[in-house]
Structures are given as C-alpha cells and as structure tokens.
Symmetry: D2
Subunit: 350 residues, 4 copies
C-alpha cells in the first residue's frame, strides 16, 4: 500500500530490459549517440512536429531550465500559488532562470484566468522597478491531481499570447493528464500554444527520464550551454534515451498512465461508498486527496500504508474537522487493485 508518491515505485520491466541491453555496448557520450538521435526523432513523431528535445536529470531541472531558456532580465514567471516551481523546488527555477515566480490563485490547483490577467497587468513591459511579466507556467496534471481541460489551456494560452509571454507546461505527470483528457500530445501542447514542455517519465515507470521539449527549436538555441552550465548533461546520456525508447514504444507510457489513473479512480469510487470519507478535489488523474477520520488514517498506517498528510489549503470549501485528516494518495503503474482494496477495507473497518 505505497501511496506516498508515484516516485516510490520502481521501474517497469520493459524499461529495465532496455537498459540492460544498452549496457553491453559502446556509444558516443554526452547525447551524441545514434540512440540519442533516434529518440529525438521519436519525439517528433509523438508530437507530430519537429521539436527540439533535451534530457535532464530531474523534474526540477526540466522546469528550471525550461524557464531559463525563455527568461528575460528582470522577468517574472506566473504560476499557480501551489505550483511545484514555486513551492517544491527550493528556488531552483529562480536560480537557473534569474526570474521570480509569482503565485496566481485559483481553486483546485488551477490558475483562475481573471487572477492571471490581473497579475500580469501589474507588471507591464516597462516596469523596471516591479519587474516585467516574462512567462507563464502551468502544471498538467496539477499538484492536486486535477486537469486543465483543453478549453482551459486555450484560455490560459490566449492570455499569455496576448501579453507576449511564452507558455511553459510542467508535465511531470504529462501522461496521466493526457490519458485523462483522451487527446493527442499535440492537442494538449503546441496546438494550444504551449512553447516549452517538461516531459516527465520518472513518475510513470522510468527510473530517471526527464526531457525538455521545445516546440519552436529556435527557443533552444542556447540550451546546450544552459544545461551544461547547470551540470545537467549526462555523459552516458543514452541510458536516458534507452528508457524513453522503451517508454514510448507501443504506447507503453499511455498504458502505464491509464493503469495509474484507473487505480486512483478505484480509490475514488471506494471512498465514495464510505460514509466517513470525502474528497478534497475531484480525482482526475492519479492523485486522490481524501478527508478521512484520523482513526482510519492511523489504522492504515499501522497496517503498512504509506501516504502524506497534506496541508489544508485556505480555500477548502468544507473545512477539515478536528478528528479528520487530509491525506494525499498517489497511484502509479505499480499500484495493484489489491493495494487499493486493502486500503479501502481498512477504512471501512476503522
């Protein structure tokens, strides 16, 4: 019953097998091998467009270097108030990009368009003292597991474009969002105006596979230097490429995400049938935020379940009671129905 995070899971056998195969040969280092090249081609296919792709070590690196590549001196990046870039990356986005992250409020982990507009308006292009609006970043799926619909992406994107701001998408859980929406990668990104994407594979079955995808390769012209200067260029880069090869082959990645989402849905349905639990937000991908009796949470923990207590946000419609706990549960490719059912059964008994 490991629901603490999808990054507690291991690696999928197919990915593991591909890594093993890769380990037996020699190849050029620093991202210049034939395999590195072929994966770049694979990304072109997946996104139906010529893109520029670069591997980095972590999701934090993907976000921070994405923002660095579109940064402007004195620039501000707008993100949701609870976004990973502002609250969970220890200032790496600021350090790498030289920009300040400006929180934009909105319910259920999503920036409210009117709030975004209002914030951008405070930082016009000649605002030497305040700093100037320079980029917008949105998280898909969000920190609380919700999903921007395609229309909502359009709206955010239009605001960004109207203000001359590039749009970044933090896709640490890109696949989970994609299968939830049931659209193509292109439809969820560049066709809606996304300029740069953090494309995460680690949480969905790789052990370390994060990429930055530039939909306008021109934006990537300095990227090789930005990456090296932040110590993010792997010498044996092809081992990242190998993971992506297996991950993207025969839609493995979509299958893994679908499974994770289904396990979250199973949790959601299970909680729905319990009188004692309710959901803090809609379950739209592979995260479930439940409000439970503390006794249930305790019982589950004692029987081996792992999950995180979550800080109650200010805008919770129904407050968390004194005897209740707000917990986050994350499912992954490796979550089993048995895990889910056991957890629910504990809650039902407690």
């Amino acid at each position: 019953m490991f629901f603490a995070s999808d990054n507690w899971a291991g690696a999928h056998p197919a990915i593991n097998e591909r890594l093993s195969k890769e380990s037996t040969r020699f190849a050029a280092a620093y991202g210049t091998s034939d395999l590195d090249r072929s994966i770049e081609q694979r990304f072109n296919e997946i996104f139906e467009k010529e893109v520029a792709v670069f591997f980095v070590a972590t999701g934090t690196a993907a976000n921070s270097l994405s923002l660095a590549s579109i940064a402007r001196p004195g620039g501000l990046t707008f993100c949701h108030t609870e976004a990973h870039v502002i609250e969970d990356e220890c200032g790496a986005p600021d350090f790498f990009s030289g920009m300040r992250m400006v929180g934009v409020e909105g319910p259920a982990g999503k920036m409210l368009p009117e709030n975004l507009l209002e914030r951008i308006a405070r930082y016009p292009q000649d605002a030497v003292h305040h700093g100037r609006a320079a980029a917008v970043t949105m998280t898909q799926a969000t920190e609380v597991g919700t999903i921007y619909t395609l229309d909502e992406i359009d709206t955010i994107s239009k605001i960004a474009k109207d203000n001359g701001l590039p749009l970044h998408m933090d896709g640490a859980r890109f696949a989970n969002a994609l299968v939830s929406l049931g659209c193509t990668p292109a439809e969820m990104t560049w066709k809606r105006g996304v300029d740069v994407l953090s494309f995460g594979g680690t949480k969905n079955g790789c052990w370390c596979a994060e990429a930055i995808v530039f939909f306008d390769p021109q934006l990537a012209k300095d990227f090789a230097f930005l990456r090296k200067r932040t110590a993010q260029l792997f010498s044996k880069s092809r081992f990242i490429a190998a993971q992506f090869e297996a991950y993207l082959k025969d839609d493995l990645w979509l299958g893994l995400a679908s499974h994770a989402n289904a396990m979250a849905e199973r949790l959601r349905v299970g909680f729905g049938s319990l009188n004692s639990a309710r959901l803090a937000w809609d379950t739209e991908s592979n995260e479930v935020f439940a409000v439970l009796p503390k006794a249930s949470a305790k019982a589950a923990t004692e029987q081996g379940a792992r999950f995180y207590d979550w800080l109650e946000p200010r805008d919770m419609p129904e407050k968390v009671g004194k005897d209740e706990a707000l917990i986050r549960m994350v499912t992954s490719f490796a979550t089993t129905e048995e895990d889910v059912d056991q957890f629910l059964s504990i809650c039902a008994s407690a």
Copy 2:
C-alpha cells in the same frame, strides 16, 4: 576500438543486475530509503571514517557542488590550468559556487607547488578587489592521466592548510588513481588532508553514479539545500545507491579500474615497441597520450578506432611534428586486449 573516453563504455553486468533487482520494489524517494542509508554506511567502511555522502547526477555537479559547499564570498579556487573545473564544465563550478577558478601551471597536468604558493600569495584574505584565496582543488587522476603521488598530495595539502584553505579532490577517475598508487581510499584522501571528494563511478562501470564525500560532515550542513536548489536531487535516488552497492561490493570497483589501467599499460608497452610513436606523458592510470604519425591515426580511424585529437599544450617538451598527431586514448573496464592489440597492429602497419 573505442578509446574516445571511458564514458563511451556501457555498464558492468553486476551493476546492471543490481539495478534490475531494484526496479521491482517500492521505496522512499529523495534519498531517504533504507538502501540509500545502507550505502552511506558502506562509504564509512571504505573510507574508515564517518563521512557524509550525497549523490548527484554528473561529475560536473559533483565538482561544482563540492566547491559551492566550501565557497566564500569573493573567493577564488586554485586548480591546474587544464583542470576539468576550469576548462570542461562550462562555468558550472563558477555558477554554483560563486567563485572564480584560478589556473595554476605545472607539467603533466599537476599543479607545481611553487606556482600554487605564488598564486595564493597574490590573493590574501583582505584582498577585497582581487578576491581572496578560498579553496584548492586537485584532480586525481589528472586530465592527462598522471597521478599525484602521496607525497605530492601531502605537499599540496600542506600549502592549502597553511593558508587556511579547504582541499577538494576531483576523483572522476578516483579508482584508477587508487589502484595505480596501491594505497587505501583513506590514505589518498582525508589522511592527506582532503576535505571534500568528488567520487566518480560513471567512468568506471556504472551508468550514472557520482557522489560527493565530505570527510568532515560539518561541511555538509547546507548541502541538502545546495543540491536541491541546483536540481540535483534524484527522486528515485536509490537507483544510484543500487549502482554503488554493486560497484563497491567485493571490490568490484578496484577490479574494474585495474583492468582499465592494465589496458592502458598494454597500449603504452605497445607504443614503446613502435619506432614511430612516443608518449606525451607517462601512462599512470587509464589514459594514454601518444604522438603518432598522422597516417597511423588516419588508418586506425578508418578501421573503426575512436579517440580524440588533443590540443598540444604549450609545455610539451618535444613538439608535435607537422606529420604527427597528438591523440588521447582512454581505456575502461570494457576495453579488451583484442581492441588494444588491433590498434597497435594498425599502427605498426601504417
């Protein structure tokens, strides 16, 4: 015949097997798992001392964050003029540490003690304009494959200590140096006054395993934040730990390095028996720098050999002739005697 770099090799089967095993289970993320902990213990044993160990993504990260952890505002770090930190890391050490790298000359990739002394003397502790001496870093094995003897480390270390400067060792090829000297890890490091070590596993059989070792854990007190802020904290950190577990088990790492060194020695001996070739520097670890007829280099390349042309340094005792090439050949755990012999045979024929 892949002699371009030791990072062109894949990963050793034992390491690969350990990774496969790790992939099947769940475990806590971000370096907090039981496995991460047990590897820290393993480092204590290897270094015969309680150390603080942290994994990072690349050798550049290891060096840059090592220096960041001992940095002082307005500080200068002294390194050899051809050191990786000054010439091959695209300014990452400067960016992460805020310090300037100051080159110290010396033959065969090693800082000459009198030059180091002279440079340090130029930057006393109150030199607000010039900047102040803040750290010394030495590379073991060096960029040209030579080794500081234990006495030479003592000499450098004494200069550093006399001037109140912490000493860092770039051990991207630590194992190769260690087996070359035939001493213990402790004898090559903290027993000689090394304070922080970049401990590299990637070039010697791992696919991605770099660690920073602090011999005084107090130096590491801010390290967790420095690492996260530079996007170097792996979520599935335990896959690094797993590599190190296999790498350090039953002295595998020493065996791999011994093999690589032996292959370099075989090259050296082979070149010695050719009239047409000579060595630019002594072969002391797993790198061979040979001056060959251009015709030989060309013939080898045409038959599939891979190696790098090397920029002739100013202090070459015997100049490289017009019809000659200075090449760098690096051997690894995966280099075979057949590769070596085939290369030598081509040279003999050309």
Copy 3:
C-alpha cells in the same frame, strides 16, 4: 507641488556645503579615509553600540546586501506582500542573496503576526523541497507610510527570534519613522532585536547616502566581499561619508524628517476638512494616501502638482469609487507649507 516622491527633492544646503568642502582635498579611496572612519564612530554614538557600517549606492543595494549577508542556501525571506524588496527592486534581493521573498499579508502595509507565524511554519529547517525560513524583513516606515509601533516591532522580532531567524529592517524612511515614534534609534532597532538595518539618507535630504548597519559586527565578516562583488564599493566613498557627517550633525536628519512629517500631517488635516476626500491609511510619517474625486486630482495635475496614482489594494476597507482616484503624496524636507496649501485649495475648489 512635487509630491511624487521624497526622492524628487534635491539635497539640503548643509549637506551640499559639506560636499563642497570635501571636494578640495585628497584622501584615501574605497572607504579607508579618516573621514570614513570618523563616520563609523558617529554611527556608534547614534546607535549607542558598536556597530559595523557600510555605504552602498542605493536603497535597493542596502536591502539586497543586507539580506545577502544573512542568507542561507535554500533560504526564504518573509516580508510584507507589498514590501519594496518583493515588489519594487526588480529581483535584486533575490539575485544578491539567492533567497526567495515570501509575501506575508497584513493591513496597512504591516505584516500581521499570525500570518507571519503561519508562513514560517510552512518552511521548517529541514524543508529541502519547499526551502527553509531564513530571515524576516520589515519596512519602517512601511510602503504606505504607516509605522510599526515599538510593541509591534517586539512582536515581529519575537517571532523571528523564536524561529532562529535574523531580522532586517528596511529603513529607507528610517528618520521619518523615528521622529514619528519619538524614540531613540537604539530603541527602534537592536533593543527590539533588529540585526541589520538599511539606513537611508537619500530620501531625507542627501543626494546619495545609504548605509547598512550591522548591530552584530560578526554578521558583517564577509560583507566587504559581498559589496565589492556587487559593484557597490565607491572609490570616492568619503563623499558618502561627508553627506552622512552633515546629515547626522546637530540632529539635522531628525529636523528634516520632522519637517517632512509635519507637511504630511498638514495634508492630512487639510483632507479631513474636505468632504470630498478621505484617507486610505492613517498618515503616520511623510506619506499621505488620499481618495479624491478624479476631478480634483486632474485639476491639481493641470496646475502643476505631481503625485502617483496608486494601485488599489485588495484589502481596502472602503472601495475606491468609479469617479475617485487613490493617490500617493510624499512630502520631504523640501516641501513647503505653500505647496501643501495650494494643493488643498485646488481640491477644495474642484
């Protein structure tokens, strides 16, 4: 009728005269002259304590370097949501200190203690992902011209101390706050737990005189390097010292601030007698925020008055009407009663 800002004023004659005198002689550069030394002594007297004093070029530099001197890797600085450091310095505090500014809400420009407590609690000392609480900065007088009482400073200071955080005070308008409270410099700073102070002279009659005062000289041990590295060390530093000498002589600075405050009070009283105007916040120093009919503001502008339209904050108790303008008026040592009365008379007529 120049009410745009106190930095639109020139320089006081006494300061000007002292500068002229200074211009005729030779003296050691970079802050090492006898005059520089004697001013440091003067600060000791004023603050009744041995302090460390350093001059910098701008108020932004004073704040940014103050924070840099108390920064910790991955650190967060708590400030009011509208503080200069977060909204008006184009990211200089973040760039110089490497820290992120975290806004704390509170009415009338002052952090509400419970909000500060709540924010600090979110960032404990082991919060590698979120970043850790590292400093608190308060602005005295605030951005909207209000003043923290001595008790309020105590409260903020206690929260900081309880959490092990150093406390910085942005005193761009230090003198205005001081004469408003009627206490001594010591009572408003270190006796309440302030560790570092940005001591501004520019807005109060100097043309360029900003200092950083460390109440614990130990905090300043790296400061000379931080300052030089940010290009803030004047070669002819003694011309700053000369300004401070005249500024601090015979309580000139207190007299200038008293005058400015009195002019603001005259405005406040004048607005009080107008039916058409009201104040957005209490007038406690040299800033008046008035809500006027747009017609009045327009008439004043047409007759030569200068002031800034102010962005209506979210927490305005009484909203600004459609036909109203929220304006900021700042008085200075150079503001005359005639200017004030003329402005009020225009408003009365309009």
Copy 4:
C-alpha cells in the same frame, strides 16, 4: 604628494558648483528628469552618433553590466591577464554577466593579437564543455598606463569581429587615453568597432560619474532591467547627470586629462634625468611605473608621499633588483607641479 591613485583626488570646482546648483530644485527620479535626458543628447554630440547612455555607481558596475548586456550562456570574455575585470573587481563581472574572464597575455598591459587569436580558437561556438567565446574587452588606458594605438584597436577589433564577438572598452581612464592619442571619441571607439564603452568620469575630476555607452542602442534593450536588478539605478540620478554636464562642458574633461597626463610626463622626464631610476613601461597617460632605490621610495614616503608598491610582473624585461622598488604613481587633475618636483627632488637627494 598623493600619487596613490587618481581616485584619491576630490572633485573639480566646476563640477562641484554644478552639483550645488542642482541641489536646490525638484526633479523626476530614476533617470527620467529633463537633465538626464539632456545629458544623453550631449553624449550623442560627443560621440557623433546616436548612442544609448546609462549611469551606474562605479567603474566595476560599468564593466560588469557592459559585459552582462552582451553576455551569452556559457560565454567567455577575453581580457588582458592583468585587466581590471579579471583581477580587481572581486568577480563582479562574472557574477553580473554569468561569463568567465579568460586572461590573454601581452606585454605592457596590452593583449597580444596572436595570443588573443589563439585563445579564441580554443573556444569555438559549439564548445559546450569548454564554453564559447562571447566577448572581448580591452582597457584604454591600460592598467599600466599604456595606450592601444588606433591601429592596435583596429587589430583587436578585427579579431573580435571576425569571430562574431562584441567588443567592450573599459574606459575608466578614457579621457587620459583620448588626449594622449589626440583623436576624437568616435575615432577611439565605434569607428574602430567598439560596441560598448565604460565611460569613466570619477578618476578625472568627478566624485561619482560612470556611464555605459552603447554604440548600438539595440544592445541596450534589456539594460534598464539589468541595472535595476543589480541595484545600480540611482533615485537621484540627475546628480550624476549634473556632474557629467559640467564635466563635458567646454571640454573641461579633456583639459583635466591633459593636465594629469602632463604631470605624469613631468615625472617621466624627471626620472629620466636621475641615474638611479628607470621606468617599467612607457608613460603614455597619467600613470608612471618607476623602479627606484628602496631608499628613495622610503624617503619619499617619510616625507608624505603616497603611492603603491607594484607586484613585479613575470615579463619585466629588466628585473627589479633586491634594493629596488617598483612603484606605481598616478597623477590627476589635482596633481600640482610642486608635488611632482618635490617628489623628484627627494629621489635626487636620497
């Protein structure tokens, strides 16, 4: 006998008078006043071209922000090994620009063109590991008081242009160089290919007046943000403008520099008539580097003379003897013939 540096002098009476006049009025802050604007026009006239001009607080800021404005990620800036940007600014150029300074050797403070070429060739535009050539900076007059001839500037400039690198000139002693060459400001700068200039007034009679001049205003498009973010935007900016107005009026600046140079020439001639002294480098502007008997230097010091001992450079053609001192003497607008003659007389007697 103050020969320690030209920044030990005070301010010229005309400049002082202009400052006094400025102090009595109100004007818009942050560089937006009528006076700020009019000085920008004055720079256009002086340089016979529409330029973009920005004031900053120090010469270090002028250099560092000039380089920041032309920086590229992973970029390297080439400068003389003894240049101010690499040896005397505590890393500010690196910090502000994110670039590494690479020393280029050459006699008498000037980069040797062949050395510059060789260094640039080591860092081609795709050198992700080494970093890429990004800018060239030359100091005019140099750190040892010599002057690049117009032809020499052409040569350096051509190398820069051939390699696609912008050219910066550190003109901390611009006026001294200009009158030495007897050419126009345009001829010494943009007509030879200089793109950005640090234009110094402080060492030549202002108390604080440093400007950055962009000969292609397009290069300055982000400059306002770069400057604010480094805390270099003066609120009462017009006091810098006022100094420049007086400085540039009726060729005052050229007269002051001519005087300083003449005083250096007087020293040179004086030393020439002494058997006991010789010059380390030609005296071409307002700096004289003399090798004297230690006894003479000691006698002068005892009688009140101030100057700096200079570190003997490696390439001194004639070594400094055991009983000799290499000293630097800098003259300024405020140096008198009496000072010079008294110094020489002491040397003659000692």
